[in-house]
């Protein structure tokens, strides 16, 4: 029989203040407290990086009518021994190519190759926001053995809703 539990489930504008609230929810959930330390730290890391990713790639959450019904979403749930981290946000269609490239790349690489890529990206002297986003996805990929699943759902000619799902063994 399968058992499932929701640790965090949030939909709405995410500001820096929201992050503390979400992290508190995660930390105070019983499942989180009962996890072994390595898994707990991995879940925490993937959760923070997922939120950071929404900040980096997400559309400004105000002054935009399209945001209606397409607010950022973040959730953590457990199904049996697996944890599922889901994050979604509206993105500019111009960013889809870059995001797809980076996601496919980290999904293809094994841990050793991910570490080489990590070193290459962390040492690259360029715009911090660009390298930051690359490092975030590499960090997430290093914390899980499974592929990062993702999808883009077109909202209009200029925007799509981007969702990503990461599975972690508990």
């Amino acid at each position: 029989m399968s058992e499932s539990e929701t640790l965090v489930d949030f939909e709405g504008a995410i500001t820096f203040g929201t992050i503390e609230m979400l992290l508190n929810q995660l930390r105070s959930s019983r499942d989180f407290q009962e996890m072994n330390k390595p898994a707990r730290k991995r879940l925490y890391s993937i959760f923070v990086e997922s939120i950071d990713n929404i900040f980096k790639y997400g559309m400004p959450q105000t002054r935009n009518d399209r945001v209606e019904g397409n607010m950022p979403r973040i959730s953590v749930s457990r199904k049996d021994e697996h944890y599922l981290i889901r994050a979604g946000n509206l993105v500019d269609n111009d960013l889809i190519g870059e995001l797809k490239f980076k996601l496919d790349r980290v999904n293809q690489l094994d841990d050793e190759a991910l570490k080489s890529l990590y070193e290459e990206v962390i040492n690259r002297e360029s715009d911090a926001s660009e390298t930051g986003a690359g490092l975030g996805l590499i960090t997430m990929a290093l914390r899980t053995d499974k592929d990062i699943e993702y999808s883009f759902t077109e909202v209009d000619n200029d925007h799509s809703y981007f969702e990503m799902e990461i599975t972690l063994n508990g």
């Binding site: 820096f16 390595p38 925490y44 890391s45 950071d52 070193e119 040492n123 911090a128 590499i138 960090t139």
Partner: protein
């Protein structure tokens, strides 16, 4: 040099850089709202300190400076700046002042141990690893 101390917050680490008492420490969580703004003064302080060390031509029989790192967590954006810290420390060492890095990580936190090994490899410094019991 004037010491630099920064108290920890929920999302930023505690930093002590105090040559007078030979205390150098980074600890806590690092995911500040503006990572660059948080780390720039620290990197600038270390660069100035590097210049001071080089000027003194310290080394030889002197005790190495002990830098203690005890991060519970840092996000990927912070990692870039933390690596910059180690690169400056490596330069200080290359210029003749001994540096000893103690990388503390919580018991069973294999990822933090591994991140330390990567930081050591990428910066060219040797770390001493200290597993710390918690609770």
């Amino acid at each position: 040099m004037e010491k630099l101390t920064i108290e920890s917050t929920l999302n930023s680490p505690r930093i002590i850089l105090d040559p007078a008492s030979n205390q150098f420490e980074f600890s806590g969580e690092s995911r500040p709202e503006n990572v660059r703004n948080f780390y720039m003064p620290i990197l600038e302080w270390l660069e100035a300190f590097a210049g001071e060390c080089a000027g003194k031509g310290k080394g030889g029989g002197d005790q190495p400076l002990e830098f203690r790192f005890g991060f519970e967590y840092f996000n990927s954006t912070s990692a870039k700046y933390i690596l910059d810290v180690f690169k400056i420390l490596h330069n200080i060492q290359e210029a003749g002042t001994g540096i000893q890095v103690k990388w503390r990580y919580e018991e069973d936190d294999e990822d933090m141990f591994e991140v330390g090994q990567e930081m050591a490899r990428m910066s060219g410094l040797e770390f001493e690893y200290v597993e710390v019991e918690v609770e």
